[in-house]
């Protein structure tokens, strides 16, 4: 039976929920408002939430001073490329873990997840040197590889969870029907796992898009994505909060829009398998 809330309690709960939501969203809101302020108003003390003189100048200046389309394109290539490459590797891996498990499958999954617990900075120097030596430094391919490896454990885990929901008998039926392993994955497993694969894809595009540590460390100019674009406005001339905010808004806007339109799919994907 659903729990009944009294009207007063419902009101209090709603207010509390809005308060928490605004608290979480406040930095983004502040950034958005600041991006329309003048630099003077942005650093005013005490801080003013709304400025008297609204301006689009920060956006026009940021656009004029930097090559936004190039950064944007790099972000697109790196986030989508790393996700697609990750899926190409993770689908067969998750297939074997879900449908042909061995005694060590669980250990392997845990080990993969444990790599995500390691601080990225611990491998920064070795990875930086390796990338420089093999010519991957400041290349899109290098970042695609790096981000794919960073997110691979999450992709495998998510797909493994979805695949476990697919009845094994259907794959056996495909085998009886003469499907090779490849055909089984292409014609039967993948189409059935489309919702799961789609939400894995979306989440990993978002994770890769928002990644800043490696994208800033392993690039200078050519392959730099939007994270580096934001960083470029914090130096060397000092901090210009209004322009930094405009650059940040421009960097997060595409992924925010993608996230907004795909939120249903994302929520479904993230709760998949939680309730049968």
């Amino acid at each position: 039976m659903a729990r009944a809330l009294s009207p007063r309690r419902r009101l209090l709960t709603t207010i509390a929920a809005w308060f928490v939501a605004l608290l979480i969203f406040f930095p983004v809101l502040w950034m958005l408002i600041t991006s329309f302020k003048t630099e003077a108003s942005a650093v005013a003390s005490p801080p003013e939430l709304f400025s008297a003189d609204w301006t689009f100048e920060n956006y026009t200046e940021v656009w004029a001073r930097s090559d936004y389309p190039r950064f944007f394109w790099n972000s697109v290539v790196i986030s989508i490329g790393s996700t697609l490459l990750g899926l190409a590797i993770a689908i067969p891996a998750a297939w074997s873990m879900a449908f042909v498990p061995t005694k060590r499958t669980k250990d392997l999954l845990m080990w993969m997840l444990s790599t995500k617990m390691m601080p990225a900075v611990a491998v920064m120097i070795p990875l930086y040197l390796v990338f420089q030596r093999v010519g991957l430094f400041d290349t899109k391919i290098g970042l695609v590889l790096a981000l794919m490896l960073m997110n691979l454990p999450i992709i495998v885990w998510m797909l493994y969870t979805y695949f476990r929901e697919i009845p094994g008998e259907i794959l056996e039926a495909a085998r009886m029907d003469g499907a090779s392993l490849w055909n089984e994955i292409v014609y039967v497993l993948t189409p059935m796992a489309v919702p799961g694969i789609a939400s894995t894809l979306l989440l990993n595009v978002i994770l890769a898009w928002n990644e800043a540590f490696w994208t800033i460390t392993l690039t200078t100019t050519k392959a730099a994505p939007l994270s580096a674009f934001i960083a470029s406005f914090s130096a060397p001339q000092g901090l210009f909060y209004a322009k930094l905010s405009a650059a940040s808004t421009m960097a997060i806007a595409p992924i925010l829009i993608l996230g907004w339109f795909s939120q249903k799919q994302l929520v479904r994907g993230l709760t998949f398998g939680a309730v049968k």
């Binding site: 008998e169 259907i170 056996e172 039926a173 495909a174 085998r175 499907a179």
Partner: protein, 333 residues
């Protein structure tokens, strides 16, 4: 052709021998039913024949060719699963066409075969629907359609009717039997339901703990069960078993009498008993009668019988219908 021969087939999962050692001949065109209680190894045996499980020992021959190490698709067999195992993202047409597509057939040929199968199975109006839009019986027909288009050497059915309701199960049972009459292809059918086994099979293989207890026609098993297990498993309600002095009178460790082979009288008979709970099915009444010294016996009486709970009745086993078993449970012919 669809002759299947199992020679010393064994299956072990780690230390556990699910099937210790099985020898079996299935002739071309036969309808063979594997029957037994849950966990007896009947589905495992079917999966070994299908190639979905690897045998631990022994050989499987299909039409004289050693198929032990062949992958499922190369064995020329088709399987219908308990859960139907239809591809939910494909239409009925695509489901039925899938094995033909995998075999690389020409699209026009695929179309012709799919339409043919749909006609046989009354699915022509549902070809563009997805499995989720079909009833249980229709889904099962699609699964059968997917099997028949391949024109396999043998069909393997793994408890195909257990997800259907009782009325539909009876219809599908008849449809599968008619399909066997039409196609005359070997069929191996796994079930735990002895009524399905009795009504459909040319030959029943009764399995218990991974071993074959008896192989024979339905009436052979009913009339001459080889042991206590088969005697108790085949027939509904199950056979009554009597031990002790009454059995000794017949020179046996146990005697068995089927509920339908006991005559009921209110005036005279061999065993005197008191009527307990009764199940009235309309045409028949299944009565539990407690007989002093023998225990509780089930009796199948006419639906018109007028005895009440607590009444005294007399039971008499019909001539020649008593089954005799030795101390090991083996039938004494």
């Amino acid at each position: 052709m669809g002759k299947i021969t199992l020679r010393n087939v064994a299956k072990r999962f780690g230390e556990v021998a699910v099937i210790p050692d099985i020898n079996l001949d299935i002739e071309d065109g036969e309808f063979v039913v594997f029957v037994g209680p849950s966990g007896c190894g009947k589905s495992t045996l079917l999966r070994l024949i299908a190639g979905l499980e690897d045998v631990s020992d022994g050989t499987i021959e299909i039409d004289g060719v050693n198929a032990t190490d062949l992958p499922p698709a190369k064995r020329g067999l088709a399987m219908v699963f308990q859960s139907y195992a239809l591809y939910p993202h494909m239409t009925v047409r695509k489901n039925i066409a899938f094995p033909l597509k995998m075999a690389g057939l020409d699209p026009a040929e695929i179309e012709r075969k799919v339409d043919g199968a749909a006609k046989v199975l009354n699915l022509s109006n549902y070809l563009e629907r997805r499995p989720g839009q079909l009833s249980g019986g229709q889904r099962q027909r699609v699964a059968i359609g997917r099997a028949i288009v391949r024109e396999p050497k043998a069909f393997l059915f793994d408890e195909p009717l257990s997800n259907l309701d009782a009325a539909l199960r009876v219809n599908m049972r008849i449809e599968i039997s008619e399909l066997h009459q039409t196609l005359k292809t070997t069929m191996i059918y796994v079930t735990h339901d002895q009524v399905e086994a009795m009504t459909m099979a040319d030959k029943i293989v009764v399995l218990n703990a991974g071993r074959i207890e008896q192989v024979g026609s339905p009436l052979e098993l009913y009339r001459r069960p080889a042991n206590l297990f088969v005697a108790g498993f085949i027939g509904s309600p199950k056979m009554n078993f009597i031990e002790g002095s009454e059995a000794k009178l017949h020179n046996a460790a146990t005697i068995g009498i089927r509920p339908e082979h006991i005559d009921l009288s209110t005036s005279a008979g061999t065993w005197k008993g008191t009527v307990g709970m009764s199940e009235h099915l309309g045409s028949d009444t299944f009565m539990r009668v407690t007989v002093e010294g023998l225990g509780m016996l089930t009796v199948r009486a006419s639906g018109e019988v007028s005895v009440q709970q607590g009444d005294t009745v007399w039971l008499t086993p019909q001539d020649g219908k008593l089954h005799h078993f030795d101390a090991n449970g083996k039938s004494l012919a």
